[in-house]
Structures are given as C-alpha cells and as structure tokens.
C-alpha cells in the first residue's frame, strides 16, 4: 500500500491560497454585472465550480472503488472513501449555495425546475446512503468490497439522473432544449475557469489531508495491534 506514494499537500495548498482569493477578486472587481441577474450572478463563480468539483470527487471515488475491486489493496478503499467524502462535503456546499442563488434570481428557495440542483439532491441522498452502508459494516474486507460496489453504482446513477430529470422536465415545460453556454463574456468565462481551478486545488488539498489522517489512524491501529502481540 505504501507503493502508491504520498499525495502532496504543498502544491494544492499554494494553489488554493492563490486561486481562491483570486476568484473572489476577479468576480467582484474584473467582471461586470450580468445584464439579466445583476449582482446576484456573482455566486455563479462559487456555485458552479463547487458543483463540478464535487462531481470530480465522486468520479475519483468511483475510479478508486473499481481499482480496489481489481487490486484488493486497502489503500484504494481509503482513497475511494476520501473521494466520496470530499464530494459530499462539496455537495453540501452546492445544496447551500443553490437555494441562495435561486432565492436571488427566482424569488424561491428551491426551484424544482432547475435540473442541476435536482440531480444533486438525488446524488446527495445516494452518497449519504454510502456512508450509512460503510459504517454499519465492521472494518474489514467485507466493508471494503461492499462500499466499493455501492460507490461504483454512482457511475450509472449520475448520468441516468441527469437524463431522468430532463425527461421529466419536458413534460412540465414542453419547450426548450437549447444548448446553454455561448452567450457569456470572456471575462466571465475566465473568472469561472480560475474559480474551477481554485476549487479543484482546494479539494485536492482536503483529500490529501484526510488521506494522511486516515493512513495515520491505520498505522496507529497496526502499532496498537503489534503492541498486543497481534502482528497481522
């Protein structure tokens, strides 16, 4: 398990310290006010990068789960857990910032017509169930493989949730299927990219720190067992 190496905390720490404040500065100083939404649109630079980062973390968790089932190295299980855990932390942030934005632009806290946030709600429930599964099994092989199998189901659930919400939507508002994007000034887009990079580094930092903590805890457990004379 040591073969997988130590994830660096220095690089993501420096990057987050630069990029996250930079996003705030750019968002408030450089980019102009959005024509439609005005000042409240600023939350876009936080909300959307956080959401995308959260997906990245879930994807990483699923990838490590697959690696665990293939290699059976407990390190992959730890990484998968850390990925899902960080994804859920960022997901909580999405579910908090989403309603703030919704309140500002639509006047309601929860907009059931907003596709993204509804998908997130499904995923959030699903990943909360992951933790419940994980913590009702005793530490060991069984827990690791069950967690990995469940985390892998997310690979199917994420795209299917998007599709399902979209299909259900066409019935409520039987109109638009326009591809969004396009009409965004380049300053908006650049700031968004900086925000995304900042959030990704922040997540990398969180995951590295948590992984170190988990490894230390495992090492302590091993040492305690060794001290009791149980060397396995």
């Amino acid at each position: 398990m040591r073969a997988l190496g130590r994830p660096s905390t220095t690089v993501p720490l420096i990057l987050s310290l630069i990029l996250v404040p930079l996003t705030v500065v750019l968002a408030f100083v450089w980019t102009g006010e959005d024509v439609d939404q005005g000042f409240s649109q600023k939350i876009f630079y936080l909300h959307v990068p956080v959401a995308l980062t959260s997906y990245a973390a879930f994807g990483y968790g699923a990838f490590c789960a697959a690696m665990y089932l293939w290699r059976r190295d407990p390190e992959w299980d730890l990484r998968s857990y850390v990925g899902v855990h960080s994804g859920t932390i960022f997901g909580t942030l999405v579910l908090l910032t989403g309603p703030i934005w919704a309140k500002a632009s639509w006047g309601v806290w929860w907009n059931w017509g907003d596709r993204q946030i509804n998908v997130f709600l499904i995923l959030f429930l699903y990943y909360c169930a992951y933790f419940m599964l994980r913590f009702s099994l005793d530490e060991g092989e069984r827990r690791r493989s069950a967690s990995a199998v469940y985390a892998l189901l997310g690979v199917g659930l994420i795209p299917l949730s998007f599709l399902a919400v979209r299909i259900a939507e066409t019935l409520i508002h039987p109109t638009v299927f326009t591809s969004s994007g396009a009409a965004m000034p380049s300053s908006f887009f650049l700031t968004f990219l900086v925000g995304l990079a900042g959030m990704l580094s922040l997540m990398a930092l969180l995951m590295a720190v948590e992984l170190r903590g988990k490894r230390t805890a495992m090492r302590v457990l091993e040492l305690q067992r060794a001290a009791r004379g149980e060397d396995a």
Partner: protein
C-alpha cells in the same frame, strides 16, 4: 450461468408458493399505501392524473423494498449461501436468480395493485394501458436488478433492515421519474413516448446500464 440463475429463481418461487411469506405481505402493503395516499391527496376531489401517476409509482417502489428485505432470507436460515458460492457456477447467477424471483413477485403485486389504483382514481377516463404496463415491466427489471444487489451488500450489515431502503430508494429515483412521466404521458395524445429518449426508452437504458454494472460487481458482494 442462465441455467443456474433459473434454477435458483425457481427455488425461490417454489418456496414462496409454499410459504406465502413475502408476496401476500407485499399485496397488503401496496393496497394500504394506495389507500393512504388516496386519502392524503383527497384524490376524489380531483387530484389530477399527475398525482395519480405519482402515487402508483411511489406505492410500487416502497412495496418493492418490502420484498427486497426478504431477498436472501431463505438462504440465511441454514446458510445456503455458502453452498451456492461454492457451486461451480458463475457467482453472478446467485444475484441474477434472486433478481428474477423479485421481478416475479413485483409482477404479481402489480396485477392486483394496478386495477385497484385504476378503480380508485379513474372511473371513466384513465391512461392508455399499454404504456403504463410497459413502463411498470421495465421498471420492475431495474428495481429487481439494483435492489437485489443492494440487498446483497446489506447482508453483512448490523442494521440490514433499516439500511436497505436507504440504499435502494435513491437509486430508484430515476425510475420513478421516468415511470411517472410515462404514466402521465399515457393520458395524452402522444401515448407516453416510445422513442429512444422517451421515458420508456430511458427505463430500458436504466435496466441495461445497471444490468452491466451489477453483473460486473456482483461477484464481489457475496461471501467474505
């Protein structure tokens, strides 16, 4: 593989015929759920086809969970899972066979539940039956496949009975979304959308994706 799965499914259906432990409870449960939601929505005051469609699907999904709670109960009694795991058959057959049995239970439940739902909600104008039946059958496949996998995951857990609904329901949300859309659509002219991106096409896609995912991982969930 398929032969072994069928043999396991047959055993489970025979056991259910003899003991009537699960399906009868599921029938009472689905009837009670439909009646409760009927009263909760005051559907007789004209809750509309959307509410009616949603109700049917909520009742079906919750009832399915009830059946899944007993998915491996017969194996638990005398440790029959060990014998199945050591048999020279693909281990996915254990999951597939159990899923087939769950599918059968769901079909029996719906044969009773759907007419009851129809009777309570629509005296005259109901949805076109064909899309509704197709959607239910496709959704049964999905929930049986995913649910049996989740039931296998929950097997070793201390809190298995509370855990299983929590594991299954989020995975079933897309099914409910598409199922309700198909049912609601069946009231209209277009008849529910059989197209590739319509709700029925989506249900088929869901079944295929989770068939592949569950098949690939079911080897890992039993034993240990």
């Amino acid at each position: 593989m398929i032969g072994a799965a069928l043999a396991i499914a047959r055993v489970k259906l025979v056991l259910e015929l003899r003991r009537r432990e699960v399906v009868f409870a599921m029938l009472l449960f689905v009837a009670a759920t439909i009646v409760i939601v009927h009263f909760a929505l005051r559907a007789d005051d004209g809750a509309g086809p959307r509410a009616a469609a949603g109700m049917l699907w909520a009742a079906v999904v919750f009832t399915a969970v009830l059946g899944l709670l007993r998915a491996f109960a017969a194996e638990a009694e005398e440790g029959a899972l060990d014998a199945l795991l050591l048999a020279p058959v693909d281990r996915a057959a254990i999951w597939l066979g159990s899923a087939l049995a769950q599918f059968g239970f769901l079909v029996v439940v719906e044969v009773v539940a759907v007419p009851l739902w129809w009777l309570l909600f629509f005296q005259e104008e109901g949805p076109a039956p064909l899309p509704v039946i197709a959607a239910l059958l496709l959704a049964n496949v999905g929930i049986a496949l995913v649910g049996t996998l989740a039931a296998g995951l929950a097997l070793g857990a201390r809190t298995r009975d509370v855990l299983l609904p929590v594991l299954v329901l989020p995975l079933a949300i897309p099914l409910v979304l598409a199922g309700v859309t198909a049912t609601y659509g069946a009231f209209g002219e277009e008849g529910g959308g059989f197209g590739p991106l319509g709700p029925l096409g989506f249900l088929a896609l869901y079944d295929l994706i989770f068939l592949a995912l569950a098949w690939g991982t079911s080897e890992h969930l039993l034993g240990d």
